[in-house]
Amino acid sequence: MSYSAPQCLNGCIQCDDVCVEFGNVLVLDEVSFSIPKGVLTGVVGPNGGGKSTLFNALVGLQPIAHGNILVNGLLPGASRGTISYVPQREMVNWRFPLSVKDVVSLGAINRGSIFRKYWFSDNGEVEEALRKVDMWDSKDDLVSNLSGGQRQRTFIARALTQEAEILLLDEAFSGVDISSQEGVIDVLRNLRDEGTTILMATHDLNNLSDRFDEVLCLNRHVCAHGNPESVFTEEVLTELYGSHGEMFAEHRIGHHDHVD
């Protein structure tokens, strides 16, 4: 996979030969790719293929053993705050009794005046974000009572108040029913059109070409990266999912219904 020369500025992500080790196990092996500003990318691969590790490395929470990462033209640790992260369901403490509005207003915590960080938030901004993701009517609901899709949209609204240029979503569709998934994708498309760079990890191979501009196939290393219509060769599927990949090759990606 070739990629353009290191010209990584706002909203762009660039990885060169990135390796991550857990003990003696190589979780990411010479991962190289470049994602320009304003592209909606699906990161697919098997469980344990390194999707979450890659995201953690991009935000500087996972030290890398080798290689270079530039996010917004900065090293991962330095670019924190310009990235917003929609965590996997299990990573969030849903027991914490916050309303939708509470969660969204937290997005602005590290930006703007010092008072905002410590106490106040800009209500106009929160309202705008909530209207964009169509959650304004549920603003006073507790997040613990929301459906999967509503939770995702709440977190996306939080990213909006954070004014993040890059949005990472980790397994955003686990526990989200198929019609709500479309709602989330619509919101993400609008954001992409406004210039936000979006990466979404998913192990759901359905409707990839309808949903994403580009697909990054990750199983320890980058198996393929590009247009979802063209990247899924039988070879790539085998590399991604082993010999069972042929099972998937029977289907034409993006042209069959959800089977879960």
Binding site: S84, P87, N93, F96, P97, L98, L106, I109, Y118
Partner: protein, 275 residues
């Protein structure tokens, strides 16, 4: 009506009751404030462990004749940071690491207690509180601690909420999430140490979590949980004090008992409201 007011004011002619009342009110405010974080982050066992683990510091302070607060606070903070570190770094599960540190330090405290003779010191006072022995220095220390604690909590409130709700997301947003976790542990330790006078090592966890838990059954969002928790906390502490005065009961257990009863009432009420 007059009689009720008499009942309220009669004990206050004794200065040791007035001092106890001030300390009660302040503990009733600060415990549920932090307690709301404790219950929503499932840290009740951590709170209980911190309370028990300050025993060595407390005993040494008594042995040297210095304020138990001065002795217990540094020990508590060291313990809090140690437990926090072990929980974050060791492969052992949370409650296991907490249990190990808890029992180890509590035993150390009891051993020091027996070595130093323990004659000056009533173990029961340490375990159950000695509210009626509150000195004027204790009152000043409690007032000062409450002010510092409230200021720190107000400043870091939103960040502590963010970290408590979504640790990973808070890190990505650029917050020092690990440091904020340690800060929360230190604040909990401070509030535990200042509450030892009132309810003692064994019952402090009741004061920390019960009012906040009762409140969370009645109201849903986090800020109202804190506010109603403070109402319950002050109510428990003050009425527990009066009960112990009029019925000659031990003060710490009276306070903890009232807060448990408030919880029971809230539990029944929330069941009825749902039904």
């Amino acid at each position: 009506m007059i009689m009720w007011i008499d009942l309220l004011f009669e004990p206050l002619q004794y200065s040791f009751i007035s001092r106890a009342l001030i300390v009660c009110i302040l503990v009733g405010i600060t415990c549920p404030f932090l307690g709301a974080f404790v219950i929503n982050r499932e840290m009740a066992f951590m709170g209980d462990a911190l309370a028990h683990a300050v025993l060595p510091g407390l005993v040494v302070a008594y042995a040297f004749g210095i304020s138990p607060f001065i002795g217990a606070l540094p020990t508590g903070i060291i313990v809090a940071l140690t437990i926090g570190y072990i929980v974050k770094k060791s492969g052992v599960s949370n409650d296991t690491s907490i249990g190990i540190v808890f029992s180890g330090l509590f035993s150390l405290g009891l051993i020091i207690l027996s070595l130093t003779g323990g004659t000056k010191l009533n173990v029961e006072d340490i375990l159950l509180g000695q509210l009626l022995g509150t000195s004027i220095t204790d009152v000043y220390i409690t007032i000062g601690t409450t002010v510092v604690l409230s200021v720190v909590l107000i400043i870091f409130y939103r960040q502590l909420v963010f970290v408590g709700f979504d640790f990973q997301g808070a890190k990505v947003a650029g917050l020092p999430a690990d440091k904020l976790d340690y800060l929360l542990l230190i604040l909990i330790t401070v509030v535990i140490v200042m509450s030892l006078q009132v309810v003692g090592i064994i019952l402090v966890v009741g004061m920390l979590i019960t009012p906040a838990a009762a409140s969370s059954l009645i109201v849903r969002r986090f800020p109202p949980v804190i506010l109603l928790g403070i109402v319950f906390g002050v109510l428990s502490a003050v009425s527990g004090l009066y009960l112990s005065y009029y019925f000659n009961l031990p003060s710490g257990p009276s306070i903890a008992m009232v807060s448990s009863m408030i919880f029971a009432i809230c539990f029944a009420a929330s069941r009825c409201l749902k039904a």
